[in-house]
């Protein structure tokens, strides 16, 4: 295993490729993303996508914010060689909704809002409330872990270059023509 601090910087690109792939999968093959065991029945892009283009010695950051914001700018950025560095996701299970952002370089979850839970009225409610929160956070963490595992298996397979990258190239090209 490579030294952790060296690996963090060296493999940031893997996290960015994960989020870029995830956007592509959400738009083109969402059903393949969600395993029944996760208990989630939908996933879509939320209110924020951040992209970065570090090619050709430039550091360009493109942020798309706001509910219902068009992602065309992001698609154009992908066409210019940018990758997704942060993405806000919405996952649903029936009426319940989880909103959270994933940062590519760290895989940290931020602004995680699970479905609402009851108020804590007294000390005797704390343990129950914590356990309920844990089970709700677990859903978002397990989903992210599952998606990342799916990506890594694909990324390290020979099909990455022969199939996935080709499909993504076509998607980016078509999307930018919209």
């Amino acid at each position: 295993m490579i030294d952790v601090s060296v690996a963090y910087n060296r493999y940031k690109f893997l996290g960015h490729e994960f989020l870029t792939w995830l956007w592509h999968m959400i738009e083109t093959d969402k059903d393949a993303l969600l395993a029944p065991a996760l208990g989630m029945d939908d996933i879509y892009i939320g209110n924020r996508v951040v992209l970065e283009n570090s090619s050709h010695n430039r550091d360009e950051v493109i942020s798309i914010k706001g509910d219902g914001a068009g992602l065309e700018e992001g698609l154009l950025a992908l066409q210019k060689g940018a990758k997704v560095t942060e993405i806000n996701l919405v996952a649903k299970a029936g009426e319940n909704e989880w909103r959270f952002s994933v940062k590519g370089e760290s895989l940290n979850l931020s602004s995680l809002k699970p479905p609402e839970t009851g108020n804590v009225e007294g000390v005797e409610d704390v343990e129950g409330a914590v356990l309920e929160k844990i089970s709700l956070y677990e859903k978002a963490v397990n989903l992210t872990d599952h998606l990342y595992r799916q990506f890594v298996k694909r990324r390290l397979s020979p099909e990455w270059e022969t199939q996935t990258v080709r499909q993504m190239t076509v998607w980016i090209g078509r999307a930018a023509e919209r």
């Binding site: 490579i2 952790v4 493999y11 066409q79 210019k80 804590v120 343990e127 844990i134 990342y148």
Partner: protein
């Protein structure tokens, strides 16, 4: 942001190593030994230690108070004192002027000025109360996983150091490389490919 907040940030860790027998007693003793130390009325700038999730200003790890179901829940508390630089400058100026007047001199040696500054800061640290920050954590001992409820770099570094010192266990932060290597059940061929991986260009026509 804490476990019960409406919105949280989570950094995931894998816990490496095993604890000796008597897990609960060992954890409780280790938490007590490394509990937050109050520095109000002390000439110290910073203190970091463990505190209770339910009573962060009065750490109590007796019994199984930190066990919630099968999870350990407690908090890292970091207390810091911040003295505004302009306050230091003013107090230093006054102290230097007094020393010059008392000694009937016109200048002070550089070392003497440094000593006066250290003393000024020491006195100010005694007067200023520390600002506490609490960061909750949930440790699933059986799954060897830990969630730390902040993405702040300094707090994460403090956690890694203190956790290792307290429990003699290592925390491995789960980021793209470690997540792939340790949590994706890679074959030897896949591990080899991971080590040699280089970035992909998705759109060949990129300008």
């Amino acid at each position: 942001m804490g476990v019960l907040s409406s919105s949280v940030s989570i950094t995931q860790y894998r816990v490496e190593g095993e604890m000796d027998s008597g897990f609960m007693e060992t954890v409780a003793a280790a938490l007590n030994a490394n509990a937050i130390r109050e520095i109000d009325n002390e000439p110290e700038e910073k203190s970091a230690g463990w505190t209770s999730f339910e009573s962060p200003f009065k750490p109590d790890f007796t019994g199984s108070s930190f066990m919630f179901g099968t999870h350990l829940v407690f908090s890292l508390r970091i207390d810091k004192k911040k003295i505004p630089s302009k306050v230091v400058a003013k107090q230093l100026n006054m102290a230097v002027a007094k020393r010059l007047a008392d000694s009937e001199r016109e200048t002070l040696h550089r070392n003497e000025k440094t000593e006066i500054k250290d003393e000024v800061i020491r006195r100010l640290l005694l007067k200023i109360p520390a600002t506490p920050n609490m960061y909750d954590l949930i440790w699933n001992y059986e799954a060897k996983m830990l969630w730390f409820f902040t993405g702040l770099k300094a707090a994460n570094e403090e956690l890694e150091t203190l956790f290792n010192k307290t429990f003699k266990l290592s925390l491995i932060r789960m980021f793209p490389y470690t997540g792939a290597l340790l949590a994706c059940d890679l074959t030897d061929i896949e591990k080899d490919r991971l080590e040699k991986l280089s970035p992909t260009m998705f759109f060949r026509g990129a300008a």
